[in-house]
Amino acid sequence: MGDAWSDMWTYLGSDAAWTGRNGLPLLLWAQLKLAFAAMAIATVLAIPVAAFLGHVRRGTLLAVSIVNIGRAVPTYGVVALVLPFSLRWGFGLGFWPTLVALVLLAIPPIFTNTYTGVRGVPADAVEAASGMGMRARELLRKVEVPAALPLILTGLRVSAVQVMATATLGAVVGYRCLGTPIVIGMQRQNKGPLLAASILVAALALGTDGLFALVQRLLVPWRRQPAS
């Protein structure tokens, strides 16, 4: 262990850690870029559909199935599986297959929590709002989605942490990110970059979780405990 730490400090003291396309700043940027893109796409795809289905109170089986499938399919498998198709259709290695895999992974928690949240809005509240003359669209925007916000945020939080973590695996399908020094470091027993990148990835995942906890606190001040 001692030599692994000193390897890491030597690595962090060298130019290789900070500059060039294998430097940590560029790898970190690549990881963040990918995670943001995946979360944005998954949110735009999942929330409207789930909110609508929750509003019309249909699709419970779909929501249950999505969670169960999401749990059974290994994240590594999703990343690997996208690759043959990506190559076949000419999207190549790297960014695109990883992005598709991450979007697929990010959808289930966002979808299910939005659906469950909107569906669970008390019937009295919905009736009162429609009694006030609100139409479906207004009802969703002003009553159902705000009432479901704690659960929606929880879903986004679970997805974001998972996406940030799994973006690391992009390295195995040729996306140059923080996973690259980990995968190569394990193969070649190159402990300095391996340890540095691993700690950075762990901190990134914990930081994402913490950031969302903060957002939840700010946006849903009436509910200090995340719904569970």
Binding site: R71, P74, P109, G117, S228
Partner: protein, 248 residues
């Protein structure tokens, strides 16, 4: 251009000729899952008893487990490998670590959920502490405990695919071979086979645990003519660092 982009996606002939490889990978995958869930369960049971004995320790234990749970698997392997070297040890440590939070929460929630009147009745009948735990609390907590084992097992089966990167076998090895030898004609077969079999194993164990729960808790069986109720999805809840004893 790599051959992943051409040829059949699944080469059934190759699969037929390599059933021994597939069988070996299945055994390795099962072994690693069983070891991890077994150790994880024993450890969580000990931690749960600790948490029930000294309440103040629960937020600390749950907090520690949830930090562990949030660390991405590849990063956790990356932190462990410089200490332990490649092989079974870092894989088992990491996999056990991921089961702890799920199991601990479910065991504690299950035991906490035993109705107070039941507990008082047991006390009134003269059950002393450990005997009540073994004969009353744990059997009543069984559905929650089995639910925890079910999630932990399914999650572990998925995570074992990544242990190929610390040099272990299992289905992850098939996937990894497929990714490494992209120019081999069976590359996509290997990737699809590894992922597909891992999903099949996860689903089989999921159903197996449903059956076990059914057998282990005969009192919870519904009468046959019960009305069909819609299945309510369980929200995927973020696990709070200092979760309270009642949530689960």
């Amino acid at each position: 251009m790599t051959l992943l982009a051409s040829g059949p996606l699944i080469d059934w002939e190759w699969i037929g000729e390599h059933l021994d490889v597939i069988r070996a990978a299945t055994v390795e995958h099962l072994q690693l899952t069983a070891i991890a869930v077994g150790i994880g369960f024993a450890l969580s049971m000990a931690l749960a008893l600790l948490a029930l004995q000294w309440r103040w320790s629960y937020p600390l234990l749950a907090g520690f487990c949830s930090v562990l749970y949030s660390i991405p698997s590849l990063a956790l392997f990356g932190i462990l490998v410089p200490i332990t070297g490649l092989g079974t040890v870092p894989a088992v440590i990491a996999l056990v670590g991921y089961t702890l939070l799920i199991l601990l929460r479910n065991i504690v929630a299950g035991i906490e959920g035993v109705p107070a009147p039941v507990r008082e009745a047991a006390d009134g009948m003269g059950f002393e502490h450990w005997r009540r735990l073994a004969r009353v609390d744990l059997p009543l907590a069984l559905p929650a405990i089995i639910a925890g084992l079910r999630i932990a097992t399914v999650t572990t089966i998925g995570l074992v695919t990544i242990t190929a990167y610390v040099g272990l076998g299992g289905y992850g090895d098939l996937i990894r071979e497929g990714l490494r030898r992209q120019s081999a004609p069976q590359a996509s077969t290997l990737v699809i086979l590894g992922t597909g079999l891992s999903v099949v194993m996860a689903v089989v164990f999921d159903l197996l645990f449903v059956g076990v729960e059914h057998l282990a808790t005969p009192w919870a069986r519904r009468p046959r003519l019960a009305p069909i109720e819609p299945m309510e999805p369980v929200p995927v809840a973020a696990i709070p660092a200092g979760g309270s004893l009642s949530d689960g």
